[in-house]
């Protein structure tokens, strides 16, 4: 299959990082960036390829986080099993929200609104329901064994997350080349036309939303194991909804590497802000917001689009490109 070579190269290069540096700061930074990249890859499948902009991916991230944490703490289940169930739980929430909204024919701003509302409902419920630890949150017991999905050092965490990320990259690549992916892009470009040509748009959108939710839930489950703490603001808070859409949009919406590129960029910006301005609350988000506006205004196809444009200028075009043009 074409396009797997770049993914393999990136995977191998990134896997070598812990051998080059043992610095926790570097690994922590990359873990957070990959986490956002993974959540963003989920968003990218539905939003980037399918054109359905969700403003509430926290609903899936948070479900992944809570299912992973709560099943372990309350029912003593194995952490890996909980993680898998967290992904399944996220997918289920995605399927339910998707089923409800797509069957009602919600599009565009309406879809963005309803996803936002679902995430907020879940946040409020999680902040009062006893099973989630309500306002106090849920603490996962320290148990540093690989069987318990906890490790002595950062490196194994890093590799596990990298593996998850690579799986999501390959999955995206497979979807890109599949009939399903073609339907998805078709309905992004013109939903009515796609429908007229016999694409079951509701089913395709529902499938995309379920996959999308599962990937973002995986990021949530990993978050629980890495930080061993969850509360409603972390799990279902708007921060993750924003970062999950920011990463693909900055990196390049509807591209395989867009979310990873974007996540690295926004996390770098976040760190730089911290270095310049100290740990001032809010300033990093001010910068994220301005970057979002600037990217939409000046580079609607993100960094990937910019790279392509530069490349196009250096090498004369051989054949007319079939890539989508924005507009």
């Amino acid at each position: 299959m074409k396009g797997l070579a770049p993914i393999a190269t990136v995977a191998v290069l990134l896997a070598l990082v812990p051998f080059i540096t043992a610095s926790n700061a570097v690994l922590n930074f990359l873990v957070m960036a990959f986490l956002i990249a993974l959540a963003g890859q989920g968003w990218n499948i539905l939003g980037g390829y399918g054109g359905q902009y969700s403003f509430g991916h926290a609903a899936f991230f948070g479900t992944g986080t809570y299912v992973t944490a709560v099943l372990q703490v309350r029912y003593g289940m194995n952490a890996w099993l909980c993680f898998a169930l967290g992904i399944a739980g996220g997918a289920l929430v995605g399927a339910v929200i998707g089923g409800l909204s797509f069957r009602s024919g919600l599009r565009g701003s309406y879809f963005a609104l309803v996803t936002l509302a679902f995430a907020e409902v879940l946040r409020i419920v999680a902040s009062v329901a006893p099973i989630t630890g309500a306002g106090v949150g849920t603490l996962i017991k320290l148990d540093l064994r690989p069987e318990a999905f906890q490790f002595q050092s950062r490196a194994p965490f890093y590799w596990v997350l990298l593996a998850l990320l690579v799986v999501s990259l390959i999955l995206t690549r497979i979807i890109e080349d599949s009939r399903f992916g073609a339907y998805l892009v078709a309905l992004r470009e013109n939903e009515d036309a796609a429908k007229a040509l016999g694409v079951d748009t509701t089913l395709v959108k529902l499938g995309a939303m379920t996959i999308s939710a599962a990937i973002t839930a995986a990021a949530g489950g990993f978050y629980a194991q890495y930080f061993l703490f969850v509360d409603a603001g972390i799990a279902y808070g708007p921060w993750i909804s924003v970062e999950a859409l920011l990463a693909p949009i900055i990196g390049g919406v509807g591209t395989v590497f867009g979310p990873l590129l974007g996540a690295l960029v926004i996390r770098t910006l976040g760190e730089l802000t911290k270095i310049v301005a100290g740990d001032a609350p809010g300033l990093d988000l001010v910068i994220y917001g301005s970057v979002l506006v600037a990217v939409v205004a000046f580079a609607p196809r993100g960094i990937a689009g910019l790279i392509e444009r530069v490349r196009g200028r250096l090498t004369p075009p051989a054949a007319p490109s079939l890539e989508r043009s924005h507009g």
Binding site: F55, S109, L285, V291, V296
Partner: protein, 290 residues
């Protein structure tokens, strides 16, 4: 099961709260009706207006009701400039982009306020904040009664302006048929910006009406915005009358669900209603089919 001694005040209080919600929703629905976009920055702009009203009182000693007279034009200008010079050009005419730009603006404004003023909650003290009037057997806070009256007056004024002034007619023309309006010499970019400015000016007035009885922090506006979304969807996107009725209705629902379910779950009542309306009646109770 509950006597009218509790129900009637709850109803009246709900109507008072609902009027303020209605004004927030009025701004939102005006913008939606003309530009066909959902302004995700609405809540952040309301928060900004709350801070403006707060500092006008704290630093300059201006009464919030007086402040409304100059904050409304100021926020009209801010809204005008945002649409004309930021949202419009950045969107490249694509709805998805507008969503993202207004979301980006919301994140920027809200966190700039957080950065500047920290998460502290502030209030102002006014001599009349706790005055009450007695209507029947219910006691109503004076600032809330004032708010109710002002909102009704503004809604009437707006309705009148839309119907009889040239700008109002131009706004309605652009809302109905953008291309046609452009061909008959209306400057669409200007009308878009005017509409956005009007919506933002509504927020400045809301802020001045709220501040005597409400607290301010960098997230204060958000509480109103999802409610305003609910109202706008309920009343039919773009409908001024729908926003008014929807606002009053939601205020009453909130008041009753707070009475029966308690504060934190009362909040959920709004969201659940919102989701149900979006799913089953996305064109609103009063709106036309999209």
């Amino acid at each position: 099961m509950v006597s009218s001694v509790i129900l009637v005040p709850a109803l009246l209080n709900g109507l008072m709260t609902g009027a303020v919600y209605a004004l927030v929703a009025l701004g939102l629905t005006l913008i939606y009706g003309v530009l066909h976009i959902i302004n995700f920055a609405h809540g952040a702009l309301l928060t900004a207006a709350l801070f403006a009203a707060f500092f006008a009182n704290k630093l300059l000693g201006i009464d919030p009701y007086v402040a409304a007279l100059f904050l409304a034009p100021l926020f009209f200008g801010i809204g005008y400039a945002l649409q004309r010079f930021v949202i419009g050009p950045a969107a490249h005419g694509e709805d998805r982009n507008i969503l993202l730009v207004t979301l980006g603006l919301a994140v920027m404004i809200e966190n700039a306020l957080l950065y500047a003023f920290r998460a502290d909650t502030r209030t102002i003290n006014l001599s009349y904040a706790f005055d009450v009037v007695e209507i029947g057997n219910s006691f109503l806070a004076v600032p809330r009664v004032v708010a109710f009256g002002v909102v009704v007056a503004i809604a009437a004024l707006l309705w009148f302006a839309m119907r009889w002034t040239d700008t109002g007619k131009a706004i309605r023309a652009v809302a109905k048929e953008k291309l046609g309006a452009e061909l008959s010499g209306i400057n669409v970019a200007h009308i878009y910006a005017v509409t956005f400015g009007l919506g933002t000016a509504c927020l400045a007035v809301t802020a001045c009406l709220l501040i005597p009885t409400y607290y301010i922090n960098p997230h204060a506006g958000n509480a109103f915005v999802l409610i305003a979304f609910t109202i706008v969807v309920l009343g039919g996107m773009g409908s001024v009358a729908g926003a008014m009725l929807g606002g009053l209705f939601v205020g009453v629902v909130e008041s009753f669900s707070g009475l029966y379910l308690g504060e934190s779950l009362g909040q959920i009542g709004i969201f659940v209603m919102f989701i149900l309306v979006l799913l089953f009646r996305p064109s609103g109770l009063f709106g036309e089919r999209a």
